[in-house]
Structures are given as C-alpha cells and as structure tokens.
Symmetry: C2
Subunit: 438 residues, 2 copies
C-alpha cells in the first residue's frame, strides 16, 4: 500500500498546477494592508490593517472551500475535511503580521502558499484521508506585546496566564482587552488560554513553509531547504537610569549618562556573541531608546531590546549570562541604575524525522535540489514542535534579507515551495488521487 | 548726578518688595501648561500648551501695566514707557518653552521674574528714563525645529531665510506654516524675518535672569552669578545607514549594523571631549534613534543628535572635527553609509562690562554674595549680544540639575535674583525713585 501510494503521488505531482505569478499577485494585494506605504509592510496585531488582512485570508480560505474556525487568541483555521474526519489533523500555516517597515514575504508565503497548496491538491483531484487544516497564527511577531508567537504558544499550552497578563502594549492595554475589542477574546485571560489550547493528540503533523531569512539557499543555488532544527532565541530588556541633566550645564565628571551605558552594552552584546567563535551564534540590539531624547539633554534613561540566538541552547545561555554580567559592570562603572528582564529564553526545537523525510522526498520527486539546514529565525513551528511532530520548508530569499521593505522571493521559488508543501501534505495526510490522474 | 542717582537707588533698594513664594506660586501655575504631568514640564513651540502659556504671560504683563507687542516669530514684548519714549529700550527676558520632561524653572524664572522685577520697581515708585521692556522669546529650545533660539536669532538678524525654511518639524511643516496657524506668521519666511528683526540701535541693553544649570553657585553658597561669557555650542546630526536584516537569519559577518556604529560614535564623542583635558568642554549624544526599532531586527539606521560646547571656540571646533572624523572611520569600518550635518556652530559671546558692573553692583548693594562665572548653557542672550550690550544674572539651582522634572531653585534664591534684576534694570534705564522713598 505504501509503494502504491508513492507511485500515485509521483504521477500526480507532475500535474500539480501552481502559478507563482498568481501567488505573488495575491501576496501583493495582501501587502496593501499596511501602516506604511509599500514596499514597506507594517501590520501589527489587531490594528485595522491586521483585521483587514485577516478578512482577506478568510475570504481566500472560503474560495478554497475551507471551513473556517477562529480561536479566542485570534488564530484562524481553514479545514479541508478528510475521509476520516475523526483522525488527527495535518496542520500547515504561518503568520501574516509584520514588524514595522518589514517586507511582504515573511510569514505570508506560508499562509497564502498553504491555501494555494490545498487548492492545487483539490485541482489535482486529491482527497485527503486525514483532515488538512491551513492555519494563520496570531501575533508571530512580538511588536505589540513584546512576545513573539503568542498564538502558537497558546495552542501549545506554552503560555502562562501571568506571562500574558504581564504584557501590555504601548497604550498600557492587555492582550485580552484588545482581543475582545476586535471580536476575539474571552471573559478572562485564563479562559482565553484554556479555550485556545489544542487538545492532546489533535494534531498529527505540523509543517510550515517560509522564506529562509538567511543567505544559504540563494548562495548555493538550492531551491528547497529542509529544516532539521529551529534555533533557540532569547530576548532581554535592559534599562539603565541616570540623573540626566543639561547638556551645557552639567560637566563631564558630574554625569552618569544612561545613553553611554546603553552604547557600551550594545557593543558588549556584539563582543559576547563573537567570543563564542561559532557562526551560529547571533546577537542584536534591535531597539535603543533614550529619554528625554533631546539634543541638549544628557540621557536620563536608555532602554535596550536585545535578541540572542543559537542552535545550541547552552551556548546561547552563556551569551545571555555574559551580556547580563556586562550590563552589571557598565552600570557600576557609569554609576547608573540597572534593571534587566529576560523576556524569553525558549529551548530550541528539533524537526521530526518523518517530516524531514517527507519534505526531502517531495523535493526529490519534483526534481528540485534541496539541502538540510537549521532555522536561525524564530517561528511558530518552534512551539508547535511541543505538541506535534513538526517540520519546515524553506525557500530562497534575495541576499538572505528579511524584516525590510526589499525582502524578496521569486515567483518561481515560491511556486516550488508551494508544490513541495502540497506533496508533503499529501504524504502526511494520506488519501487518494483522482482516477483520471493515473 | 551719577553719585546722586546711586545714592537714590541705594536707599530704594532696601524697600524693594519681592515675594519669592508668590513668584513660585505663579511659576507653578505656569507649569500646568505641560504635555506631561507635573513635575515634568513639556511645552513645545506653538502647541496648545505653549499657546496657553503665552496667554498666561500676556495676562501677567497686562496686570503689570505693560503694553504688549508681538512679532511674527512669536516673540512677546511688554513695554513700560520711559520718560524719554524715543530712547533705546532696556530689554530683559527669557523663554517659557520646555524640552520634553524638563522642569519648571529653566527660562520661566527670567520671564515671570522680569515681570515681577518691573512690578517691584513700580511699587517702589521708580519711573524709568529709558523704556523698559520684558521679553518672552519664541522657541529658545530646539525641540520642534531642531534650531535653538529661533526668536532671538531673528531679532538679531542672525537667521537666514534658507536656514529657517530648511527646518521642518516631525510632521514636515515649516516654522512659517505653524506660526500662521496659531496667529503669528507672515506672508513669507522672508517677510517673517524682515519684520521681526530689531532696528539697529533700538536696544540699549539686554539682561537675562536664569537658573545656573550648573553646580557652582550652590556648591560655593553664592547667591548671584554675574555672567561674563556664554559658551559656544555646536549641534551635529549624524545618520548611519546599513542594510538591516533579520536578527535571527543574518549571520554576524554579513551585518552592517547601523545601531552599533551609532553606539561607537556616542562613545567617541565622550572620548573626544575628555581628550581636551579641559573642564569647560562638554559633549552629549542627546538623541539616539534606531530604525526599524524592533527587537528582532538588525538596525538599518541610527540617527544621533550631538551637542558640543566650550567657552573656547577653537577648542570646541577641534572636538567637532574629531567627532566627524570618528564618524567617518566608524562608517568605513562597519561598512555603513554616513551622512552628517552641522546644525549650528555659533561663536561664543562676551558679556558687556557695563552690565557685568551693573549686576555686580546691584548684588553688592543688596548685600548678596556674587561671583563671576561663565554660562555653559545656550541662551537667547548669546544672540542678543550681537545687537546690544548684553549680560546675564544666574541664581543657584539644586545640584546644578536642569532639563529634568526635579529641576529646582528656592523661593529665596529666586527673590534675590529678581531684586538684583530690578536694580540692574533701574541702573541701566536711569530714572527717578518716588520722593517718598528718600
Ligand atoms: Mn518575522
Ligand atoms: Mn516569519
Ligand atoms: Mn533649556
Ligand atoms: Mn533656558
């Protein structure tokens, strides 16, 4: 039966009808829902443009004959019923939110691409045994609440009530409040999380299609990345506070300039990362805010957001510890007060061998070059891996660029990724191809 | 006649009735017009709170029987006519605008205090020979247009049309536009400047009362600072631009992180200042903005506002040159693009000996300890010195703090400053004290 199924899939694959230009056209329409003018895309959780993007995605799901379900966190599911409706579901999806002035491919390729993969399977006459669901995760990006992957953390039961309640947006509001205002939400944060959590055993497999956000595939001219592990990210917030003062009146020996403490720490982050000597260790001071922020005022406060990642958990934790120690030293030397918080320090995830095999096999079947690699970027797959066998499919993106307006993936590469995703889903769900395709 | 006049002033001084608590009460009411909650004061040019503060000042001027005149830049004059109305005027004043989250004494003491000095002279029966005018300068602080002392520059004819037109606020609007919207302004920037400029010879003397914004007077227990020179400030804007990228996906060797270039430059500013070995050299990176400003994004741009001051012009220019050279080196090393602008590099000003003598004499007459000192902070007096003999009176402020919510000057010190200002104005204007005071 296994051999027959592979044979059927093999033949059907030749006829999988996926149009890269059409997908890019859909992605371009989606990019219009943005707080900045295209090509920059800014789409923050539960803002008007995020809500418009959600409607756009649901309309596409309906066109693909998917049955829509939304959970209180704002995760959106589109279900293609299987011939065995009680079987655990094969899930695929990604996110459509975007950090300020990002691009139009990060996340969106894995949502629009998943809908297109399902549509291509339908056109090819495939009928899944297990149910197939396309998922748009809520708030993969940390922009609004400082917490990435809020939706997938909740699905995986990896989000504690106190953690979510401790987060507020720039207006001082909670996830629960803003979720309720846009029509999601629940009576309490506790109910929000309990209702969103996936029941044990509900998911047979999870697979996510995504742009690489790194340079390897493009450099090597390889179409498909088969992800074997997802790097472990950590985020820190460090605040230095000094006395401030007038930039003219306060003499240099009388100063405790919080901005200079921040500058030293940003450089210390870089030094601590380079000190590991490992190519896989990266560290970034992505936010750097000084107050009061006037040219003629000595900074009274500096607030830094620091991101440290590695595929090796303990090595990453060593860098986190080195950065915190440097912050302490700098604070003492510059006589500023220090407060620091580890916002998250999640463990890395390993992709499931069954899915690694399914993806690699699908690429091979389509005649596409593939290579195994590690994801250094954060993904919802990191949390889905806690509750289901998980894998990821990467496609090349120009120069490895991401989180910037000129982020780019070619229509041909996107189409290849969608074909590989479609065949992977067919392999994982099992099922039948139309007789006519034989 | 000179001897008699001094004698008369001497006797009247004993009866100068100035109530420090009452002045602080007025300053506290003024502090309410703020975009941040008190004790923080934020009052930006031509915002609703600035307009309310202007009305408040004009009402006080009217209560003191001053005749109000406003110019197109928004400078407000309150005139006490002299017995010789055609004589050049004796001017005194300061500003009421405040940078974000500043305090309630910077500038305001020299406006409210000047009105109170005039009122005290009136109560003492003084009648000036030369006209006396109290002046509230428009936009001493650079917050809105990046240009400090806009009002006094215009009065002194030290503001070029292209320079003012080249400045835009955060909403991309010009001084002319916002001035017109609130009821100041003119048909063109050229007309705005021509109409605001003081006619040659119009001002006999200018004197400004201000908190020290430095620690010397408080440390030495001296009530009155007699300012002999005003330090020469320079402001730079430096922008580094790199490629940005994803904080997880972009490996360290592939980065050109603009934020780290900015961090290095902020530290280079400090190093260049300390390298002069002179206590009078100060340098500050007061603003530091990174874009896109997301924790998971490598900074694509860093924008720094740098302030460098010295009482020695050439030494300050040496620091400016060293900072610009450091920026160049950093840009090359980190492979980021650099653009830098010198926003201003004004020459220092020397106070006029006549006013230095008048202030020191007034303090002595009142039995107050005084010392000569240099102003390291920027003041409108810097520009008034270009068109009239100019001087400044400093009073102590707690810890030398300024530009912060806990900026503080005591009611007794404020009252002393106002008494010295009143006697100085009487000396400079000439005139008669009421017979009853003899
Ligand atoms: Mn992203
Ligand atoms: Mn993503
Ligand atoms: Mn100031
Ligand atoms: Mn001032």
């Amino acid at each position: 039966a296994v051999a027959l199924s592979v044979l059927l899939t093999c033949c059907a694959a030749q006829t999988l009808d996926v149009d890269g230009d059409k997908i890019v056209e859909v992605l371009t329409r989606l990019a219009n829902f943005s707080d900045h003018e295209n090509p920059a895309v800014t789409r923050i959780l539960f803002t008007p443009n995020d809500m418009l993007a959600r409607k756009f995605v649901k309309d596409l799901m309906r066109e693909a004959n998917l049955v829509i379900r939304e959970d209180p966190m704002g995760n959106i599911f589109g279900r293609w019923e299987g011939s065995d409706p009680t079987a655990p579901v094969v899930l695929t999806g990604s996110h459509t939110d975007a950090i300020p002035q990002a691009g139009m491919y990060d996340g969106t390729v894995g949502v629009i691409g998943a809908i297109e993969a399902v549509a291509a399977l339908q056109r090819a006459g495939f009928r899944p045994a297990r149910p197939l669901e396309v998922l748009m995760f809520s708030s993969e990006e940390p922009t609004r609440f400082g917490l990435s992957c809020s939706g997938s953390r909740a699905l995986a039961g990896a989000l504690r009530e106190e953690e979510l309640e401790g987060r507020r947006d720039a207006e001082g509001r909670h996830y629960l409040q803003v979720a309720n205002e846009v029509g999601y939400g629940a009576a309490s944060t506790s109910q929000l999380l309990a209702t969103s959590r996936l029941p044990p055993g509900a998911v047979a497999h999870f697979v996510e299609l995504h742009i690489e956000q790194g340079p390897l595939l493009e450099r090597e001219g390889v179409s498909i990345g088969v992800v074997t592990a997802i790097a472990a990210p950590s985020a820190l917030e460090v605040v230095f506070a000094g006395e401030g003062g007038h930039a003219g009146g306060q003499l240099m020996p009388d100063r405790n300039d919080a901005g200079l403490a921040g500058a030293e720490l940003a450089l210390a982050v870089e030094a601590a990362v380079l000190a590991t000597g490992a190519a896989d260790t990266v560290g970034t001071t992505g936010t750097f805010e000084v107050a009061p922020g006037a040219v003629n005022s000595v900074p009274r406060e500096a607030r830094l957001g620091i991101d440290i990642r590695d595929i090796d958990g303990p090595r990453r934790d060593g860098v986190v510890a080195a950065v915190l120690a440097a912050a302490q030293e700098i604070a003492e030397k510059r006589k500023v007060r220090l407060s620091s918080r580890v916002l998250n320090q999640d463990p890395p995830a390993t992709c499931h061998p069954d899915i690694v095999e399914a993806v690699a096999g699908a690429a091979q079947q389509l005649g596409l070059a593939s290579r195994r690699l590690v994801s250094r970027a954060y993904h919802d797959a990191l949390f889905m891996a806690r509750v289901a066998p998980t894998g990821m499919i990467f496609i090349p993106c120009r120069n490895g660029w991401s989180h910037r307006p000129d982020e780019f993936a070619s229509p041909a590469d996107i189409a290849n990724g969608v074909r590989v995703l479609a065949l992977t889903l067919a392999r994982l769900a099992g099922g039948e191809w139309a007789k006519s395709e034989l």
